[in-house]
């Protein structure tokens, strides 16, 4: 007995293209959700006692395609994170990233 199987993959390819677009969109939206969570934690959860709130107000974030950034624009946000020879470090970006990064998959799933 001989069985011939012919698969017309044109439709599969068409839908695969749609899936890829949908996936990319979901990843972008998930990335936006993630970076907002990280920025909120950076702003609200830090180990120093706020005196002026200047650094917290200076926190900005941006998402471009699949790349996201969160940063301080105060001019001294980096010194707070890493310290100097005489001033202690108060890491606040790294713990925020550690806390929220594991939720990226869930955020992407919410947009699928």
């Amino acid at each position: 007995m001989n069985i011939d199987v012919k698969v017309d993959d044109a439709e599969v390819r068409r839908n695969l293209g749609k899936l890829t677009d949908k996936m990319k969109k979901a990843m972008e939206e998930g990335m936006k959700d993630l970076i907002v969570d990280i920025a909120n934690t950076v702003i609200k959860v830090h180990p120093w006692k706020t005196r002026t709130g200047n650094n917290s107000r200076s926190i900005r974030y941006e998402v471009k395609d699949l790349t996201a950034s969160v940063f301080s624009t105060s001019g001294y946000g980096g010194y707070l994170e890493t310290g100097t020879a005489t001033a202690p470090a108060f890491p606040y970006f790294k713990p925020a990233i550690d806390r929220h990064l594991p939720t990226l998959g869930q955020h992407i799933k919410e947009h699928l």
């Binding site: 010194y79 890493t82 310290g83 100097t84 020879a85 005489t86 001033a87 202690p88 470090a89 890491p91 790294k94 713990p95 550690d98």
Partner: protein, 136 residues
Amino acid sequence: MVDTNRVIRDYLVSRPALIALVSTHIYAANPLPQNATLPCISFFTRGGTSIPAVPTIVIPSVQFSCWADDPIEAREIYRALYDELNGLYDANVTIDGTIYWIMRAIEEVQGQDLQDTDIPKYWRVLTFYAITIRNF
């Protein structure tokens, strides 16, 4: 729970290449101690992760500063630290009769050459490592 700072320091002070450069001036401190002698290395834990299902394993993220009074020497210390730590796999440290296991050490960010803002004659190379440590 494992005192990860002590495990890391004990490991580093046992490395001849580092001792040759900084003697035993390796400080688990934030910021640098006031009486610190240059050249030296200071480090502290800035965060990291743990594994809920395996509480004996922790993965601190550690900030290292390689200090010297000139940038070339600071980078030389950084390079020695890199050679000792990056890619480290399966190293034992015994403290008070207990064996601790550094399972893995991976550099998170390549060293940054920085001049200190508070003491301009102080130079440092700043780097970060994720270090997986387990006690038996």
